[in-house]
């Protein structure tokens, strides 16, 4: 699977309260959640984000609450991939379970700038910064996780009898 998009860059410890503030958790409607995505950290996100864009971030992305509304809001915003130095563990499994592509790659997170155009090939873990020409290598997913993603998420995997 290949992802290409422009980068929106954030720092360390981006928590799920700023990704989707709790005041909007009285709904689980994907479009409505997307309309408030990143609102408490970046009020311009919703107006700037384009289909296919890539988020890069520092350490512990998605820390805090277990709200699946956070990866849902990001995915429904059109973001195709999140690259971070590390992810908080609940966010990590939520993203896998709902089929939002994420990857840990500290070198890429450090060396990609806001607005750069990036291409990521998740089959071989190669991330290319098309703006600067730099290339980074991320560790591929474990087979079990890859299987969940390939089948469209956790529930789809159960429905197909894979789990």
């Amino acid at each position: 699977m290949k992802y290409t998009g422009n980068v929106l860059k954030y720092g360390d410890n981006v928590d799920t309260d700023v990704i989707i503030p709790a005041r909007y958790l009285n709904t689980s409607d994907h479009k409505e959640l997307a309309s408030h995505c990143m609102e408490d950290i970046d009020k311009t996100f919703v107006s700037r984000v384009q289909q296919g864009d890539i988020i890069t971030a520092g350490q512990n992305f998605g820390c805090g609450s277990s709200r699946e509304h956070a990866p849902i809001a990001i995915k429904a915003s059109g973001v195709s991939l999140v690259i971070a130095k590390s992810f908080a563990r609940i966010f990590y499994r939520n993203a896998i379970n709902i089929g939002l592509a994420i990857v840990e790659c500290p070198e890429a997170a450090d060396n990609i700038s806001e607005g750069d155009k990036v291409e990521a090939d998740m089959d071989n873990g190669i991330i290319r910064n098309l703006t600067t020409g730099q290339e980074f290598k991320a560790a591929p997913f474990p087979d079990f996780v890859q299987k969940i993603i390939e089948n469209g998420g956790l529930m789809e995997s159960i429905a197909k009898g894979i789990i």
Partner: protein, 422 residues
């Protein structure tokens, strides 16, 4: 190679003799939890499977606590969806207004969790039940849906940090100060993907309410779970709450830990976490005059009876500072009733505080005490992220019930030692 407590519980629930760090397993679950915010997403996912019902009607529980009593029409619709799902699936442990409490105070109180259990909950503070010697971890709604459907969840077996506790806590210092101290030491990702295992001779001086508070905030260090060794205090608690027969897992003598950290409980002082991360822990020699607008005493972290008793001891015969709004939220109906019978509610109201029905409410900026721009709160809750309790320009200082009560009296962030020495 020896296994940690967590690894032993996971191995047993995956039907394996042993597991090792990093191994992916599918484990059987003893309990699957959701609340009024996370369950609606899980219910929609569950519907995709066209299953006749949940895997075990006694092992699924839903608690209406976050935006309940319903704060608005949308919140009411979400609770209605949960109510109807639990009705249709004959779910035994559905807790609505009247019976409900904050989930992580309620489940141990109802005896729904026991030592040796493997529990998932679609709420990050599900790690609370590690206090009774269970493996318990927060997950998302899709994991909850999977758990409700097949009674299993996938896990990557975590490594562990061992915390050896020694000594005894000083007066007006509690579990909250211990966990804020620890998070201040290791950071908000200091235990990322790992298990935090608590043991040692200092355990005997920690009450169950202290342990529940400490395990509750393991997630604030990024941990997969927090877990306490089982001792007589645990067993007495489980028996008193009619929990299932405990299964005691002990870490192997040769268990391998990423790190072993010694914590001398007698050296811990009242501790406050400054905005906007729980790792910004400070003791009072590093805290100047910080004026506050609001105090919250409650939440799944600190809304238990001992928390209210400590606050009441400090508020008794004193008045909350003018201009400070003090909101006290007993975490369950039983705690509310006990607090009433012990005269705590009278002390609170006479001091100028208000007492609310159980709800997560202000902790996550839901309702019952939202902050305006520029306002500051001292809260016994668990997160002080940007905008967590209201406006993005408001500030939350995390503290113990004793520190929160002392601060309510002076109107600025104050050590309980200072107020009680007068």
């Amino acid at each position: 190679m020896g296994m940690t407590m967590t690894q032993k519980i996971l191995a047993a629930h995956a039907g394996l003799d042993s597991v090792e760090t990093g191994q992916l397993i599918l484990a059987n679950l003893d309990l699957v939890l959701g609340n009024d915010i996370t369950s609606p997403v899980a219910i929609k996912e569950f519907a995709k499977l066209n299953k006749d019902g949940v895997f075990d009607k006694d092992k699924v529980t839903m608690v209406m606590d976050h935006f309940a009593p319903n704060k608005d029409i949308k919140a009411a619709e979400q609770c209605k969806m949960c109510r109807e799902f639990c009705g249709a699936n004959d779910v035994t442990h559905f807790y609505d207004v009247g019976e409900m409490g904050i989930e992580h105070a309620l489940l141990p109180e109802k005896g729904l969790v026991s030592a040796g259990f493997c529990v998932i909950g679609a709420d990050s503070h599900t790690c609370t039940y590690g206090a009774v010697g269970a493996f318990s971890t927060g997950v998302g709604s899709t994991d909850m849906a999977c758990g409700m459907a097949i009674g299993k969840a996938w896990f990557k077996v975590p490594s562990a940090i061992r915390f050896n506790l020694t000594g005894k806590l000083n007066k007006y210092v509690s579990g909250k100060d211990v966990i804020l101290h620890i998070i201040g030491k290791i950071g908000v990702d200091g235990a990322l993907y790992k298990s935090m295992e608590f043991g040692g001779e200092g355990l005997s001086s920690l009450s169950m309410d202290d342990r529940l508070c400490i395990a509750n905030m393991a997630i604030e260090a990024g941990a997969k779970n927090g877990i306490f060794e089982v001792d007589d205090i645990t067993l007495d608690y489980l028996k008193a709450h009619n929990a299932a027969e405990p299964v005691i897992y002990k870490a192997d003598e040769d268990a391998v830990y990423d790190e072993i950290i010694d914590i001398d409980l007698s050296a811990i002082e009242p501790t406050v976490a400054f905005p906007h991360l729980p790792e910004n822990a400070r003791t009072f020699s590093e805290i100047g005059d910080i004026k506050i607008d609001q105090v919250i005493i409650g939440s799944c972290t600190n809304g238990r009876l001992e928390d209210l008793q400590q606050a009441a001891e400090i508020l008794k015969g004193r008045k909350c500072a003018k201009g400070v709004r003090v909101i006290i939220i007993p975490a369950t109906q039983q705690i509310y009733l006990d607090a009433m019978e012990q005269g705590l509610l009278k002390i609170f109201i006479e001091s100028g505080a208000v007492v609310s029905t159980p709800t997560c409410g202000p902790c996550l900026g839901g309702h019952m005490g939202i902050l305006a721009a520029g306002e500051r709160a001292v809260a016994t809750t668990n997160r002080n992220f940007v905008g967590r309790m209201g406006h993005v320009e408001s500030e939350i200082y995390l503290a113990s019930p004793a520190t929160a009560a002392a601060s309510a009296i002076t109107g600025k962030i104050t050590s309980p030692w200072e107020v009680m020495s007068k």
